[in-house]
């Protein structure tokens, strides 16, 4: 098993990219972030398709890039399996030829047969990519990358070309394959469902910097920056104007806190499902809001509530729970355990230096 260490910097015009992390030896590490944040750049750097300006990149004892020693191994020398966003199959070759492209002639036949069988592509061995469905193309791209017997598997938005129904099916297939691999798997995606289904570890890249990195549960429950929290699906943000020892306040009002928070805090956040409705103003751990809209989506009722400063909060309640009608006023109660303090990325908080060995990866500002 190999471990991938990445500590690289790159400057392209105004875009600064700086990532320092160790990708675990086994399991899927998902990289999440807004468009243009540099997720795919990291994959390209690992694959050797992009040369960083500075840093070190190694897979176990093999150094792939070292700016000090002026080492830059090309993509041909790295043994990386890369599944491109829209598969990048060789259109003039059959499925078999695609899968066997990177395999030595002496073992090509056996490996191609193995991967055709493994990914249920036997019936399409002599077809061309143009004759395949989206799901079949994805399987060919995966088989081609794995037949090469890579030390690292990189997946760049592997489901972006699939419709929602196919996406569910493809996720299941991919999970079955990658679970049996003993190599680091790095997946770039912006889809939270992909991450919840496939990932063991998550990194959040914002504006070219790695801001969160850790286990799936830890990163999703404890974001540290607003930009990372947004990428992770957090929706409610209260701008903080002043912080005292037991409370925070903004244009939206004041909330009591049972702990001290960092003076760098710019935002308070809470997940929609953790906010409760109360008709009484229970002192300073609730805020008065007016209901703007109430929508039932399956078993969840989604409430859009307007704060005194005009901003909206999203609240999720069980569909059958009685709630005030649109236009009525109510109070939202924020349980202390679920409130998180965030900073703005790139301002007070520095991006983290992450290592899988150190599980306490995120420099939390709240308890």
């Amino acid at each position: 098993m190999s471990q991938l260490s990445v500590n690289v910097e790159l400057q392209r015009n105004a875009f600064h990219f700086s990532v320092n992390c160790t990708i675990p030896k086994k399991g899927v590490t998902a990289l999440l972030g807004p468009s243009g944040s540099g997720k795919s750049t990291l994959l390209r750097i690992i694959a050797g398709l992009e040369k960083p300006d500075r840093g070190l990149l190694s897979s176990d004892s093999h150094i792939w890039y070292d700016s000090q020693k002026k080492i830059m191994r090309g993509p041909q020398q790295r043994r990386v399996g890369l599944v491109f966003q829209e598969y990048a199959l060789f259109g003039h070759m059959t499925v078999s030829a695609n899968i066997g492209y990177g395999v030595h002639r002496s073992i090509r036949k056996a490996l191609v047969r193995h991967w055709l069988q493994r990914l249920e592509l036997q019936n399409y061995a002599h077809d061309y990519p143009a004759q395949l469905s989206g799901g079949q193309k994805q399987r060919v791209a995966l088989a081609r990358a794995l037949a090469h017997e890579p030390d690292v598997l990189l997946l760049d938005e592997p489901f972006s070309a699939a419709d929602p129904t196919l996406r569910v099916h493809l996720r299941q297939q991919l999970k079955a394959v990658v679970q049996s691999l003993n190599i680091p798997v790095v997946m770039v995606t912006h889809d939270l469902d992909d991450i919840h289904y496939l990932a063991d570890h998550v990194g959040v890249i914002v504006r070219g910097e790695l801001y969160e990195f850790g286990t799936l549960t830890d990163v999703f429950n404890n974001p540290t920056t607003r930009q990372a929290a947004q990428a992770l699906g957090w929706q409610n943000f209260l701008a903080v104007q002043s912080i005292s020892s037991d409370s925070v306040s903004g244009k939206w009002g004041r909330l009591k806190l049972d702990r001290e928070i960092s003076p760098d805090t710019d935002w308070l956040t809470i997940r929609p499902e953790h906010i409760r409705l109360t008709r009484q103003n229970s002192s300073s751990d609730s805020l008065e809001v007016s209901i703007v809209e109430s929508i039932v989506n399956g078993a969840v009722r989604i409430l859009y509530c307007r704060l005194p400063d005009g901003n909206c909060l999203v609240v999720h309640r069980p569909w059958d729970e009685p709630v005030p009608a649109a236009g009525e006023t109510t109070h939202l109660y924020f349980p202390q355990a679920f409130l998180r303090a965030l900073a703005d990325a790139g301002q007070a908080h520095k991006p983290i230096t992450a290592s899988h060995e150190n599980n306490n990866l995120t420099s939390r500002t709240t308890a």
Partner: protein, 240 residues
């Protein structure tokens, strides 16, 4: 007068030794020109398709010049360059003892320059349309740049190569002004078909001019027909 010459010379489809030599020389010239231009034009077209260098536009302009320059202008400068007192011609003569102007070697150089854009531009267009990710995928699968060229770039850019070959070949077949300026009209040495046709017309031998013209016409039609047919097949085929 012209009609008389036509009537006097309608003795059937007869070609003189000079005509055959002109035909043979033209085919040799066109073939050699295309081979040289593919060897030189492919890396140039690749560079033009990939680079963001500030001199790219200069190189593109120079490459396209033969498209707009009158052949006599290009021919004149080539004559100066390749002549016994020209920089290239002088060097060549001191090295080999033979002149470059009014020789087959001079014709090849002139043809290569004159047909350069007809080979480079289709190749450049083809390279710009290539699926960059497929090339990168080949690299990550261990393919060397040369192997990637043979197995990915060449097959994916085959229509561009076919167009470049046909345009380069056909354009060389039809050269007149540049060839006349640089090579003159020496039968068996520098006289190509287009000049032989001109000479036949000048001497009112319309049958001979017609014979050569018909061969060129038929040849051009057949070549273009085959190219379009192949292109159509590649375009609609599953492997396209």
């Amino acid at each position: 007068m012209a009609t008389g010459a036509w009537e006097n010379s309608t003795n059937g489809f007869i070609m003189t030794m000079n005509d055959w030599q002109a035909m043979s020389l033209t085919l040799q010239l066109a073939t050699l020109t295309v081979i040289i231009l593919l060897a030189l034009g492919t890396p140039l077209a690749w560079w033009l398709s990939q680079t963001r260098h500030r001199f790219k536009v200069v190189v593109e302009t120079v490459t396209a010049l033969p498209l707009v320059l009158p052949p006599t202008v290009l021919g004149f400068y080539l004559l100066v360059l390749l002549g016994a007192h020209g920089p290239l011609g002088g060097f060549w003569q001191s090295f080999t003892g033979a002149p470059l102007a009014f020789s087959f070697g001079g014709l090849v150089i002139a043809s290569c320059l004159y047909s350069l854009p007809f080979v480079v531009q289709p190749l450049q267009n083809a390279f710009e349309r290539l699926d960059r990710r497929a090339i990168e995928a080949a690299w990550t699968l261990g393919a060397s740049p040369w192997w990637t060229f043979l197995t990915i770039i060449l097959p994916q850019g085959r229509r561009g190569f076919l167009t470049a070959i046909v345009l380069g070949f056909a354009h060389t077949l039809g050269e007149f002004g540049v060839v006349l300026m640089v090579g003159g009209n020496i039968p068996g040495k520098t006289q190509v078909v287009s000049i032989a046709i001109y000479e036949h017309v000048e001497s009112f031998n319309y049958t001979a001019a017609n014979n050569l013209s018909l061969i060129l016409l038929a040849f051009s039609f057949v070549v273009l027909f085959i190219v379009y047919a192949i292109n159509r097949r590649w375009y609609s085929g599953v492997a396209a």
